[in-house]
C-alpha cells in the first residue's frame, strides 16, 4: 500500500518541481536585470545613488525571506489603496507575490555579487581601454561588465542554489511547489519521512545540475586560464 502511495506521488512531485524551477528561473531572470543597475549605483561613488540602494540591499539581506513574502502577500492587503488599485489582481495571487519577493530578494544579493565583480576588474584594463579612446559606456559594456560577470560567476552559482532552496517557502503561501506538493500529500497519507526524503532527493538532483552547469560555464568563459592544446 505504501509502495503505491510513493509510486503515485512521483509524477505529482515532479509537477511541483517544475513550478519550483519556474519560480526560481523567473526570479533569477528579472533579478539579474535589476541587479546590474543596482550594482552600478553601489560603485558610482555618488551618495544619492549609493545610499538608497545600500538601504534596499541591507533590508533584503538582513531580514528573513519568510518575512518578505508575508509582507508582500499578507501585508499589502492592509492598505485600501492597494486593494482597490489596478495592481490588486496581481498582488492577491500567491504566485506573483512569491515571484516579487524572490526577485527583490535575489536582486539584492546579486547586486552585491556583481559589485564585488566590478571592483575585482583590474584598474589597468580600464585605464588601457580609456587610453585607446573608448567612451565610459563602451568601457563598461566591453571591458568592465564582461569581466565582472566572469569574476562573479562562482558566487552567483551559490546564489542560484540558495534561491532554489529558499523557494521552498513558496509552500507557506499555499503554492504547490515541490515542498508544497510533498506537504499536501503528507497531509493526506501521513508519510512524512518518505515524501520529504523524495522531495529532498529531487532538490539534490536540481542542485547537482545547477552546480554542473555553472562549472561548465566557468570553464567555457575562461579559455585564457587553460593550458594550450597540443598542436
Amino acid at each position: 500500500m505504501s509502495g503505491n502511495v510513493i509510486a503515485e506521488s512521483i509524477p505529482k512531485l515532479l509537477d511541483g518541481a517544475a513550478l519550483t524551477v519556474e519560480l526560481v528561473a523567473i526570479a533569477l531572470a528579472i533579478g539579474i536585470v535589476l541587479a546590474v543597475p543596482l550594482a552600478l549605483a553601489r560603485v558610482s561613488g555618488r551618495l544619492w545613488l549609493n545610499g538608497p540602494v545600500y538601504g534596499y540591499v541591507f533590508f533584503f539581506r538582513g531580514t528573513p525571506l519568510l518575512v518578505q513574502i508575508f509582507l508582500i502577500y499578507y501585508g499589502l492587503s492592509q492598505f485600501e489603496t492597494v486593494r482597490e488599485g489596478p495592481l490588486w489582481p496581481i498582488l492577491r495571487e500567491p504566485y506573483w507575490c512569491a515571484i516579487i519577493a524572490f526577485t527583490l530578494n535575489t536582486a539584492a544579493y546579486t547586486a552585491e555579487i556583481i559589485r564585488g565583480g566590478i571592483q575585482g576588474v583590474p584598474h589597468g584594463e580600464i585605464e588601457a581601454a580609456r587610453a585607446l579612446g573608448m567612451s565610459r559606456l563602451l568601457v563598461l559594456r566591453r571591458i568592465i561588465l564582461p569581466r565582472a560577470f566572469r569574476l562573479a560567476l562562482p558566487a552567483y552559482g551559490n546564489e542560484i542554489i540558495i534561491l532554489l532552496k529558499a523557494s521552498a517557502l513558496a509552500s507557506t503561501i499555499t503554492l504547490l511547489d515541490l515542498t508544497g506538493v510533498a506537504r499536501t500529500i503528507i497531509a493526506r497519507t501521513y508519510m512524512p519521512i518518505e515524501l520529504f526524503a523524495m522531495a529532498g532527493a529531487i532538490y539534490l538532483v536540481i542542485t547537482f545540475m545547477i552546480t554542473r552547469a555553472i562549472k561548465a560555464l566557468e570553464h567555457r568563459l575562461s579559455p585564457h586560464t587553460r593550458p594550450p592544446r597540443p598542436a
Binding site: P64, L65, L66, F70, G75, A168, T179, A182, I193, F196
Partner: protein, 231 residues
C-alpha cells in the same frame, strides 16, 4: 512610532526565543562542524565519504524541508518507539528541540567546510614543532591548532550565523512561538499584517546589526596577537 496594540511584550518574548534558538543551533552546529571537518581531513576513507555525503545532502536540501522532516520524522519515530515499549500516547518532539536539531544539522554542514578551510590554513610546521616539544596530539590540538583555527574560521562562521539567524523564522512553520509565529498571532488579532511583519523585519534587522557588531568584536579579540603590515 508604529502602534503595536499592546503586542510589543509578545514580540519581545518571541525575539528572546529566536535568540535562544539561534544560539543553541549555532552551538550544536559548531560541534558537528568541528567533528565532521576532522573526519574530512582524516585518513579514513569511510569517514571522508560520510562527511562528504553529509555536507552534500544538508547543503543541497532546503532548510524548510529539514525542519519539517526532523519534526514530523522524529515524532513518528518516537511514537513507534513508545508503542513498541507499550506506550499508548503519541510522543511529539518539542518544536524547540526539533528546530535546534534541524538548524544545527544545516549549520553543521556549512561549518564543516569553514573549519576544513581553517585547519588547512594552519602551518604544518607548528603542529610538528609542538609534537617535537613533547606535547601529546590532544595538547597540540588544544594549545596550538584550536586557538588559530578559531581565528581563521570566525569570518566564515559569522556569515553562516547571520544566515542561521534568519532561518530561525522557518521554525514558526512547526508551531514554535518565536518572533515570526508571535507576529503571525498578533496579525490574526489586529488584522494589520503590514504593520506587524514590518515590525518583525525591523527586529530581525536590529538582531542582524547587533550580531555583526558582536562578531566584529570577537574577530578583533581573536586577532589581538596578530601583527599587521605597517601602513
Amino acid at each position: 512610532m508604529i502602534d503595536l496594540h499592546g503586542f510589543s511584550a509578545q514580540l519581545l518574548a518571541g525575539t528572546a526565543l529566536t535568540i535562544e534558538l539561534a544560539l543553541a543551533s549555532a552551538a550544536l552546529g559548531t560541534l558537528i562542524g568541528l567533528a565532521l571537518s576532522a573526519l574530512k581531513l582524516s585518513r579514513s576513507k569511510l569517514g571522508r565519504g560520510f562527511a562528504d555525503l553529509y555536507t552534500t545532502i544538508f547543503r543541497g536540501v532546503p532548510e524548510l524541508l529539514i525542519v519539517l522532516l526532523v519534526y514530523f520524522g522524529a515524532t513518528i519515530a518516537l511514537t513507534s518507539l513508545s508503542r513498541a515499549l507499550g506506550g499508548e500516547e503519541p510522543i511529539e518532539l518539542h518544536p524547540f528541540l526539533a528546530g535546534t536539531l534541524a538548524l544545527g544539522l544545516a549549520f553543521g554542514a556549512y561549518a564543516t567546510e569553514v573549519f576544513r578551510g581553517a585547519f588547512q590554513a594552519l602551518p604544518r610546521g607548528q603542529i610538528e614543532a609542538a609534537r617535537a616539544l613533547g606535547m601529546s596530539r590532544f595538547l597540540a590540538f588544544r594549545r596550538i591548532a584550536l586557538p588559530q583555527v578559531w581565528r581563521f574560521a570566525l569570518p566564515g562562521l559569522g556569515n553562516i550565523f547571520l544566515v542561521l539567524l534568519k532561518d530561525t523564522s522557518l521554525v514558526s512553520v512547526i508551531g514554535l512561538e518565536e518572533l515570526m509565529r508571535k507576529t503571525s498571532i498578533a496579525v490574526g488579532f489586529t488584522k494589520e499584517p503590514f504593520t506587524f511583519y514590518l515590525a518583525a523585519a525591523v527586529i530581525y534587522l536590529v538582531m542582524t546589526i547587533i550580531s555583526m557588531i558582536g562578531l566584529g568584536a570577537l574577530e578583533r579579540h581573536a586577532n589581538r596577537g596578530v601583527r599587521r603590515a605597517a601602513r
